[in-house]
């Protein structure tokens, strides 16, 4: 009993010490008392220096909460109980949030700097007239390959994934829309197809690819490719950028038939409490110098064309991340498929995953 008692006392002491520690830290960073801006974003998706700069300029204290997937974020915001002022979801999720009235319409009179954004990235199907969102980063879905195992001329089209020499040597990103989408694209169909015949055709074709598939993974795909675990990977441009930074043999290509163009945009959730602060943040991020700083830190493609002027040429002239207009014309943005077809896509993908072995 003595032992238990002393343990319990010890534990309570530790708890008190930790509590005091937290209080102390919060005070030292000037966090107590100021008005708060709650940002809900992907982990490590903004330069921490920029957050500090914003706090100094605006006087707000920033609470930075993170999520690891659009769906998880959506579930959290829809349930309520949270008060996020800013969130940065991906385009298809924004469309869904608009449909479910989870985001506030933007008052463009309060926004300064929207003209800095490249017009190609405004007024897109998921948010016409940008009534609800402002572009933050964008990218593409494509193929990353390691030149030690396969040469560039062999990797130009989605069909190249079916090459027999790639047996057990490609990795796919774990996303139903991405994979079924590439199947559709390789047949010349739209990746927003709701046509069951087209879908069945795509799945039948994808089944033939499965002997080549080594693994279906998510974010860790960067690590695998950098470690040369696989010759080829279907992945996003952002992930490819990280892979290429680690391993100079890796290159990224957008297949010529077309692919997905993705966006992460800033929205103001319906549950926001500090709407003024939200607008200040949006305007802050629209400034070219801040967008450029963020782009350099994150490594993704910025939609801010004034920022491009500031960024070094080797970044902005890299066609892997800033593709030609011609290629851009083949890229499609995901549209929300609606619950039923989303379910169908995912079920088909689940079956595809189980088909391999």
């Amino acid at each position: 009993m003595k032992k238990l008692q002393s343990l319990i006392i010890g534990i309570i002491l530790i708890i008190v010490v930790l509590l005091l520690g937290v209080r102390q830290l919060e005070k030292s960073t000037g966090m107590a008392g100021a008005q708060v801006l709650n940002i809900y974003n992907w982990g490590d998706y903004i330069d921490p220096e920029l957050l500090k700069k914003f706090e100094e300029e605006s006087g707000y204290k920033v609470n930075y909460d993170t999520f690891d997937s659009n769906e998880a974020m959506f579930t959290k915001i829809r349930q309520g109980g949270t008060a996020y002022d800013i969130s940065i979801p991906s385009e298809y999720m924004i469309q869904k949030m608009i449909d479910e009235k989870l985001v506030l319409p933007l008052d463009h009179a309060k926004i300064k700097g929207l003209e800095n954004i490249d017009a190609r990235f405004l007024n897109l199907s998921f948010d016409p007239e940008n009534s609800y969102s402002i572009p933050y980063f964008w990218g593409t879905l494509g193929i990353a390959y390691n030149d030690k195992f396969i040469s560039a001329d062999k990797m130009t089209s989605w069909d190249d994934l079916w090459r027999p020499e790639l047996k057990d040597n490609i990795m796919l990103i774990d996303g139903a829309r991405e994979i079924i989408g590439l199947g559709l694209n390789s047949l010349g169909y739209s990746l927003n197809s709701k046509n069951m015949e087209e879908l069945d055709e795509a799945v039948t074709k994808l089944r033939k690819m499965t002997p080549n598939v080594k693994a279906i993974v998510a974010d860790e795909i960067k690590m695998y490719m950098a470690n040369e675990e696989s010759a080829v990977a279907v992945t996003f441009s952002g992930e490819a950028a990280d892979m290429m930074a680690e391993n100079e043999h890796i290159h990224y290509v957008i297949p010529k038939e077309g692919s997905n163009l993705w966006f992460d945009n800033i929205v103001i959730p319906k549950t926001a409490k500090n709407v003024d602060g939200a607008y200040e943040f949006i305007n802050f991020m629209l400034r070219p110098e801040n967008a450029a700083q963020n782009a350099e830190y994150i490594g993704y493609s910025t939609p801010n064309k004034k920022a491009l002027d500031i960024l070094p040429k080797e970044i902005t002239e890299d066609e892997q991340f800033y593709p030609t207009d011609e290629l851009m014309s083949h890229l499609e943005v995901y549209e929300d498929l609606g619950k039923e077809y989303l379910g169908i896509y995912n079920d088909l993908f689940l079956e595809l995953k189980m088909y391999r072995k």
């Binding site: 997937s69 769906e71 998880a72 959506f74 579930t75 990795m171 774990d174 139903a176 080594k214 693994a215 279906i216 993974v217 998510a218 860790e220 690590m223 695998y224 470690n227 040369e228 675990e229 619950k339 039923e340 989303l342 379910g343 995912n346 689940l350 079956e351 995953k353 189980m354 391999r356 072995k357």
Partner: protein, 268 residues
């Protein structure tokens, strides 16, 4: 005694109602609704009629079974030898310590260790055997899953063995039994409670592993956990997700009945 006992039990009962019974009722309730919010049995139909979910269930059960068996085989001797050491409490704590490091980080470490250019393959190349594909195989998946579950099996078995009266072993020896017989007839049966706790704490959660199936297994095997993640998050089909949840809960009840308290009859 009864009155005081009721008093002690109140917080627990409170928890049981609020955090166990209420959510379970909600899950069961939800499983009867389809994607559009209509009352329907379609989820159960999809589950039992399609080969897909039954295959998934079989996969999950099989792998959970393998993981449990391997964990048990490794844990039992570990717990047993631990009890013989001096400073055994310390060693036990040192066994638990690695579990406090984040799971994702440990998985990443294993990716580095098992990778085609990783530590093990470097060693194999050095000894002339040549690199092997370790990641994305059943082997690596089972190793990592076992790794994660080991402390949860070692703990209860160790506790059970610790509490055993050493004079029972001496008595068995006196009566002429050798080490093996002593183990089989005295030690093991007395530690069975610990083994059961360990099995319950390992088998059941292993059924819904999904992170490891992706990180180490590369989604070569699809378990129920994968499907649940998909339904709850991606397709927002909480009805179907809840159905699988119900199946898991029923499976748990079955396991409990099989390994639960038996009638305390006269000993053989």
């Amino acid at each position: 005694m009864t009155k005081i006992r009721r008093l002690y039990a109140i917080p627990y009962m409170f928890w049981l109602v609020l955090f166990v019974i209420a959510p379970v009722l909600m899950i069961v309730y939800q499983s009867f609704f389809d994607m559009n919010g209509q009352f329907s049995l379609i989820n159960y139909q999809s589950y039992f009629a399609s080969g897909k979910y039954l295959t998934m269930t079989l996969n999950s059960v099989w792998y959970a079974f393998l993981i449990t068996v391997i964990t048990l085989l490794i844990s039992y001797p570990t717990a047993y030898f631990l009890t013989k050491l001096k400073h055994k409490d310390l060693w036990l704590l040192l066994i638990i310590l690695p579990t406090w490091v984040n799971l994702l980080l440990k998985a990443y470490a294993f990716i580095g260790i098992f990778g085609i250019n990783g530590s093990i393959n470097s060693f194999l190349t050095f000894t002339g055997i040549g690199p092997q594909q370790i990641l994305f195989t059943d082997f690596s998946f089972l190793v990592v899953a076992t790794y994660i579950e080991l402390p949860f099996m070692i703990m209860p078995i160790y506790n059970a063995l610790e509490e055993m009266n050493p004079s029972l072993i001496s008595a068995s020896r006196d009566l002429g039994a050798n080490s093996f017989e002593t183990f089989r007839r005295v030690v093991f049966p007395l530690s069975l409670n610990g083994v059961k706790s360990g099995v319950q704490a390992v088998f059941i959660p292993s059924l819904s592993l999904f992170m490891l199936t992706r990180l180490i297994g590369g989604n070569r095997v699809i378990t129920l956990g994968t499907a649940i993640e998909q339904h709850f998050l991606v397709t927002q089909n909480w009805g179907m997700g809840s159905t699988i949840g119900v199946v898991l809960i029923i499976a748990m009840f079955v396991v409990m009945i099989l390994t639960g308290e038996k009638k305390k009859g006269g000993k053989k």
